[in-house]
């Protein structure tokens, strides 16, 4: 039967049958909202999980599954799920495991928006109790309650670059039947794999080092049990913060170079930290790779092969000094993100603007702090830009 032009235009070429001999070297990008079925029984069987298959773009996508396979493997987890942003992943990981009346213990030094999510959303709106605790100097044991469900922290704290002993915190959490969720954004699996240290879930803003090219937003959860991800996936279907397949495809591409990028970020950061440590305008250099860092011992135990990541912070003494140094850079830019191939900086007000001044003070976040995301440039060029800028600013 000869079909009308409009019918041909809408139906022809919608199915690619790959010859069995053709194995694409790179996984294809499935820009698909939904899948077609010949009968309702098959659709129902796929929907119930009785048969394998894809149904709808919000529930699953083959490109996203390729990405999940990589993420699960590199974090040595059981399964993973991906979301449209780091906050999408964090909110899904936490909200899937909490209800009104439950209690969360969170480190008081965390990314500003995570802090705000716990305080303004979970605590103030949804009736979840939240204790912000100084994990580094206080004993978290005394904050557990019968209704505590989640302990939350970052591998490398934003912006103090502090490193805590995940093994100890995991032991405490598990002794109280709680889940430990660790934001591993600053470290990446190339530096630290929290699941191997006892964490139940790791979350990422994969926008940062995991992607490394500043061109997508992405969030990741990897868990040590498949049942945790199954549950989150199910909850996520209701909220819908899914990752676009195109972003998943770009993130896969990025992960191919993760190890060589992170090794270079870490080498550069180590040299930059040594430079800052000897600089008279820098009151403190916060980097776990420095032997003088209080975090050095534990970081050396839980990080891989002497890598300490690409993030460091320096205390320039005042907000004015921070602003002046930023203004006098020739190459380095203030960017409200991090983890890119270029060196970028951020002040505390930018990274932790979601917190009030009082909250920042309570968490010990000084306005004189400049957070530096060390890039892949030649480290001499990075140091030179700091040198000339700080020279102009003076003491």
């Amino acid at each position: 039967m000869k079909k009308g032009l409009m019918t041909t235009l809408t139906h022809a070429g919608s199915k690619i049958t790959m010859p069995s001999t053709s194995m694409p070297k790179v996984a294809p990008l499935y820009m698909n909202a939904a899948y077609c079925f010949d009968d309702a029984e098959t659709l129902a069987a796929v929907g119930s999980g009785e048969k394998e298959g894809y149904l709808y773009g919000r529930t699953s996508n083959p490109t996203n599954d390729c990405l999940r396979e990589i993420l699960t493997a590199i974090d040595e987890g059981a399964d993973s799920q991906v979301y449209s942003s780091g906050m999408g992943a964090i909110s899904m990981a936490v909200m899937s495991n909490i209800k009104a009346g439950d209690h969360i213990i969170a480190n008081k030094v965390i990314f500003g928006t995570s802090f705000k999510f716990f305080r303004a959303e979970l605590r103030d709106k949804f009736g979840v109790e939240v204790s912000f605790v100084d994990f580094a100097n206080d004993d978290i044991e005394k904050y557990f309650k019968p209704n505590t469900r989640i302990v939350y922290m970052e591998t490398i704290a934003n912006p103090t670059i502090d490193v805590l002993d995940i093994r100890k915190i995991a032991a405490s959490a598990h002794a109280h039947d709680c889940l430990l969720i660790v934001d591993n954004t600053f470290a990446t699996p190339a530096v630290c794999r929290p699941l191997t240290l006892g964490a139940d879930m790791v979350v990422y803003s994969a926008t940062k080092f995991m992607c490394g090219h500043s061109d997508i937003l992405a969030g990741v959860i990897v868990a040590n049990k498949k049942s945790l991800i199954d549950h989150i996936t199910d909850v996520g279907h209701s909220y819908g913060p899914i990752m676009s397949p195109f972003d998943a495809w770009l993130l896969i591409r990025s992960l191919r170079t993760l190890e060589i990028r992170i090794a270079q970020h870490s080498r550069n950061a180590m040299q930059a930290a040594e430079y800052f440590q000897g600089h008279k305008q820098v009151a403190h250099t916060l980097y776990p790779g420095l032997a003088s860092s209080p975090a050095h011992k534990v970081a050396s135990e839980i990080f891989s092969r002497g890598l300490y990541g690409g993030m460091l912070s320096i205390d320039l003494g005042s907000e004015k000094n921070v602003n002046d140094v930023i203004r006098n850079f020739k190459m380095i830019k203030l960017v409200p993100s991090l983890g890119a191939f270029t060196t970028t900086v951020s002040d505390t007000k930018t990274s932790h603007g979601a917190m009030t001044k009082a909250e920042r003070d309570a968490s010990g976040l000084s306005d004189g702090l400049l957070r530096v995301s060390i890039g892949l440039e030649n480290v001499e060029d990075i140091i030179e830009d700091f040198e000339q800028s700080m020279k102009k600013v003076g003491r």
Partner: protein
Amino acid sequence: MNDPKYTRETGILHQGAYLQGRRDTPETAPIYLTTAFNVEDLDDLEATYAVKGYTYQRTRNPNRAALAELMTYLEQGERSLIFSSGMAAISTVLLSMLGSGDHLLADSTLYGECITLFNNMFPHYGIEVTLVDFTDHAAIEAGFRPNTKVLYTETISNPMITVIDIEAVAAMAHRRKAMLVVDNTFTTSVSMKPLTVGADVSINSLTKFANGHSDAVAGSATGSEALIQKVYELQVLLGTTGDPFTAWLVQRGIRTMDLRVEKQMDNAARLAAALEANPHVLRVHHPSLASHPQHELAKRILRHGCGGMLSFVMPDDRKLINAFMRKLNLAHYAMTLGGYRTTLSHPVMSSHHGVPEADRLRMGITFGLMRVSVGIENPDDLIADFNQALEVFK
């Protein structure tokens, strides 16, 4: 445009056409998927022409311009052009320099498609071609004719991984008032910058090591402003331009090129040494090895590494070679090279399929020769994988 006098049919085409508000400075360049750019009036159009502004995608596109700028920097030239493939770059560059009655003198061990282009296509346009072994400088001298306009070679040949002395060949070309065009694909600017040692144009199949992710096909040509202007004028007519999305992806790929290629070159040297030590391997071709005929030359001109490509010889036993390929876990056969994963290619069955047996044997291309594009895997994993697979020859 927010004028209520227009209908929905018109509005659906005109709304959202231009970015409103502040032009920020994105960390990453936007992708300009537009075939053309609008101008206000004829004066504006003339002004756009005057500054070589963006008008039509085949003539100029911001993503192609951005990638070209990056290539010019990396290759240390004056100007670059971006093409839809490496072959588009090679054909456009050479056709811009050669005309009917001119003579092209090229290396005989070039990429197969190049040999097809030179031998089968160029004679249609009255271009004479001679292919000689460029490792043999006397053969090059003997190949010159009064009408020789261009010499063409690759920095490292495929699949015997021989190294060409670009500086010496450039000097020979220039003595005869000819130009030297070099394909820098195998070495990339990480280990070789042909323009700095006398070449006139450096071409890259960006598809390979430069992009490195096996997901884009693109080419580039870099040289002096005057030479590239001639290439540009032909490119506009032939329409061999690269597309904006590919240009953006390749630029993204190049951000990690130094990290990748350095690792690939280091891995290749390690794998070459391991293969040479393996009793089932008859011979290994990689310039890092002391046994390589141009080892000393390579040490002198490829100071940052001898490239990520190697080849090695196994016994001419098709069954055992198949068993070896199936037993490898990490390296798969692929009709490309330079990607982050290690891949194999079998010259007799692919690049040199049409070459008569006597000719290919003279080049050293036996049935047991396997070419390896070394990836960025952990080198110990790679070596262990090759060694366990080579056990099939026991």
